[in-house]
Amino acid sequence: MAESAITPAPLPSADLAKVPVRTLLPWAAFFGLLMLIVLYFVGAEQGATSLIAGENVHEWLHDGRHLLGFPCH
């Protein structure tokens, strides 16, 4: 990166520019929710609450659930 710094480029403002909340909100709402649903299935499904009958989800994720720190059973 030395050569680019020898002739100082005009200050790239991208790193200091804020992402407007209005731009971020749809992404955060949709993908944030999607990620939380994934985390729910990794961490809590068939534990305290159960959407799918049986214990297969719980059993398959058993070791990861314990080691990731979720209350497992």
Binding site: A17, V19, W27, G47, H62, D63, G64
Partner: protein
Amino acid sequence: MDAAKVRALLVRGMLAGAVAGLFVFVFAYVVGEPPVDAAVGFEEAHGHGHGHGVEAVSRAVQSTAGLATAVLAFGTATGGIGALVFCFALGRIGRFGARATAALTAFGVFVTVHLVPFLKYPGNPPAVGDPDTIGKRTALFFLMIALTVLLGVLAVLLGRRLAARWGNGNATVTATGAFVLACALAMAFLPSMQEVPDGFPAALLWQFRLASIGVQALQWAAFGAVFGVLAERLLEPGGRRADGPSALRAAAR
């Protein structure tokens, strides 16, 4: 910055989280599985099993494919959330570049979502924890996380406000102290859960819990490092900021 950049950062966050998940899988298999196995042995010897006769998933599958599924899904999903938090933090927590913001984001998530809640409600190995209280323990666990994240956000706001008057150093120390004090108060008032069965080896419990917090420390350290590089390449093409440390080093040459 536009929506295309947010999308690109989100993809990179999930990728960085998955890469971190690969490291975590190796660590969890090598360091975490021995105490889990020993705890399952204790569980079976003392008849505190899950209460079902035939194992639906064998231990061999649980400790390999099952563990890999859990840590990779966890890594990818938290990586996406980490990228969204990064997008919001960028330019709002101080004059930090992309890489420093990524490192601070990862550190902040680790401390507020994992480290502080772990101090009150640490992960339990198999055989520890009464199945009848799983609902209460799960609710308290997520309540503690929500509370610590809230306190962390308030501490950052406090620090930003004080920085203008007291300078960055004093503001950071004061806000950190306020955060620690508030967390200690929350821990003192929330109910404790102590459900270690009689005769469960203390050393095994310690070994498991150390591995458990190690898993999260590794996940977020690796995420912060990998995502920091990817985000920097995306947001600061052609090198670091002209007024950054690398420019100063170059100027001094």
